[in-house]
Symmetry: C2
Subunit: 107 residues, 2 copies
């Protein structure tokens, strides 16, 4: 089964990027014990003041979808919503590289 990857581009409301980053870092901490979540990195855009990107890799698209249905995830999203002007996902199929374990089977 292919891994599932996503770059989630968050546009924070003006002045709210730091507060939004703090909530996303809490979400990352909550994902620490979740084996199916392989990567959840919070990034600031180097050039755009209101932009945050989250780099996610999950063991499968199903594992990602299941995480969105969890009560804890939904509560976090509710807290973050007032800080967010927009979200744009870039969906990816990770095929290999350094920093994650990839099996020998084709994606």
């Amino acid at each position: 089964m292919s891994k599932f990857g996503m770059y989630a581009k968050f546009t924070a409301k003006p002045g709210e990027r730091e507060a939004l980053a703090a909530i996303l870092l809490e979400a990352a901490a909550a994902a620490e014990p979740v084996q199916e979540c392989e990567l959840y990195i919070v990034n600031l855009s180097e050039s755009e003041a209101d932009i945050l990107w989250v780099t996610e890799v999950w063991s499968s698209a199903e594992a990602h979808a299941a995480s969105l249905a969890l009560e804890a995830t939904r509560a976090t999203i509710q807290r973050a919503m007032p800080l967010i002007a927009g979200v744009e996902p870039v969906k990816l199929i990770p095929v290999g590289g350094k920093g994650l374990a990839f099996g020998s089977t084709a994606p």
Copy 2:
């Protein structure tokens, strides 16, 4: 010192995405022993047939810049160039999350 992150969006020439992915996976393998390279993941776009994204995290912007100056990197870029229609970098400051080691100092 802050880590350096980048999403590099490659547009392959028509029909060349698979060949380009193979070269990028070779670059990832070459980065395995490079301690300053913390992440180098090759991803296919889920929705766009000619698009590849590489997720990179380096220990610093300087470490990334130094890698680009290496002869092996330049040779790989030369081999990849005929397959590439365009490259767009998204530069990032990774601040925390799951899957990488982050120090306790602020970015």
